[in-house]
């Protein structure tokens, strides 16, 4: 099922400059695998050495951080929006 994926500038080097992508899958994990097929090297850009999501990366489904949903197994459905952003500070 197609979902929309928003990628930050720092990932656009692997997506050939494209900011908004389409990908399919029924979980976040499957969506990322699909993106990695479309853009080889995509998942390694946002993973640490052990293959886990890098701690400086935040992944959201419809604006909610997946760490508080079902992490990489968070379900997605047609029309959902997945956003990837680097961790930022304020203050």
């Amino acid at each position: 099922m197609p979902v929309e994926v928003h990628v930050p500038p720092l990932l656009q080097k692997v997506t050939n400059g494209v900011k908004t992508l389409r990908a399919s899958g029924s979980t976040v994990n499957q969506v990322l695998s699909d993106l990695n097929r479309q853009f080889p090297g995509f998942t390694s850009e946002i993973s640490d050495d052990s293959g886990q999501l890098h701690r400086f990366v935040n992944l959201y489904v419809n604006d909610e951080d997946v760490r508080f949903l079902q992490r990489m197994e968070t379900p997605v459905k047609d029309g959902d929006v997945v956003s990837i952003l680097p961790a930022m500070a304020g203050g």
Binding site: H6, P8, P9, L10, E45, I46, H54, R55, F56, V57, N58, Y60, D63, E64, D65, R67, F68, S83, L85, P86, A87, M88, A89, G90, G91
Partner: protein, 312 residues
């Protein structure tokens, strides 16, 4: 005993902010939203609390002595609060801020005599942190409170913000605040959780996608040491447009003139509140609207150019 309402200096007048119900935003009859109005602090933001706490802790530990300069990376509010207290206590203050903060922030920093060093606009506060750390390492006459890793930051909220909330409203089911350093969420959250172990602590996070186009590598990412993400129950990202809309609604429906991050917090609270049957949500509105007047957000509303300014 000093008389209630009488303070020996403006620094002692920090805190004691009102908690106000936002009746028009109640998502259903048994769900109530209450706002802690931190814009009522002396410099107009919640950061007065942590600035006082960090400076007094450093003085007590002998890390900050007369003649030293306070140096801090900040997107504005913490710098303004440090600068104000620096004036009262006699410390020069130097702040490192992103070049694209609103003009009001730089004006306020000037009013309180702070020296400003600008960091690259496209790296956000992460860029300011990198610059300030280099400067501090090179200058032993500087004391850097470093709000991102200073335990006196969450402690200020544990010792003042949360007790004030509980004094006014003993039943808190959900607490929502903006995520900047994590200090407000951690410190307030810990105290509220001691009082009610089932309280939910929810972070509202700004969407900074366009703003931080200069972040080229994950190595530029940053998770403040003060923040333990495991202590949160939810984290909701809010766009600049939704933040603006809710900030306008606060003024028009409740007469509350608050900053842009406050709109984000309200937006996240409304979203979280839709899942609740009953209960009290306390939201912390970190600052007043004064520093954002030049944005024209109350008159013109959201425009795409707002994505290039630093609101948080």
């Amino acid at each position: 005993m000093p008389r209630p309402g009488l303070y020996g200096s403006i620094v002692e007048a920090i805190g004691h902010t009102p908690l106000v119900e936002l009746k028009s935003f109640s998502p259903r009859p048994d769900v109530h939203i209450f706002a802690k109005l931190e814009g009522h602090n002396p410099t107009g933001s919640v950061k007065d609390r942590i600035a006082r706490s960090m400076i007094e802790a450093a003085e007590a530990a002998g890390e900050l002595k007369p003649g030293m300069t306070i140096l801090e990376p900040t997107s504005g509010n913490t710098g303004i609060a440090l600068a104000m207290i620096g004036q009262v206590k006699g410390y020069p203050v130097r702040v490192v801020i992103p070049e694209n903060v609103t003009e009001e922030r730089t004006r306020l920093l000037q009013i309180f005599g702070a020296e400003m060093v600008y960091s690259p606009p496209d790296k956000g506060t992460n860029g300011s942190i990198a610059v300030a750390r280099e400067m501090a390492a090179a200058d032993p006459a500087c004391y850097m409170p470093y709000q991102y890793a200073n335990e006196a930051n969450p402690r200020a909220h544990y010792e003042s913000t949360a007790p004030e909330i509980l004094d006014a409203l003993p039943e808190v089911d959900v607490f929502v605040a903006g995520l900047g350093t994590g200090g407000t969420l951690m410190g307030t959250g810990r105290r509220l959780r001691e009082h009610n172990p089932s309280v939910k602590i929810v972070a509202a996070e700004p969407y900074q996608g366009e703003l931080v186009a200069g972040l080229r590598s994950l190595d530029d990412g940053f998770v403040p040491p003060v923040l333990n993400v495991e202590e949160l129950d939810g984290k909701i990202m809010v766009t600049v447009e939704d933040s603006f809309t809710a900030t306008q609604e606060l003024a028009r429906r409740e007469g509350i003139f608050a900053g842009v991050s406050c709109g984000a917090v309200l937006h996240a609270a409304k979203r979280y509140g839709r899942r609740m049957e009953r209960g009290n949500i306390v939201i912390l509105l970190a600052d007043g609207g004064w520093k954002y007047l030049s944005s024209e957000l109350w008159t013109r509303g959201y425009e795409p150019s707002a994505e290039k300014k630093f609101w948080w």
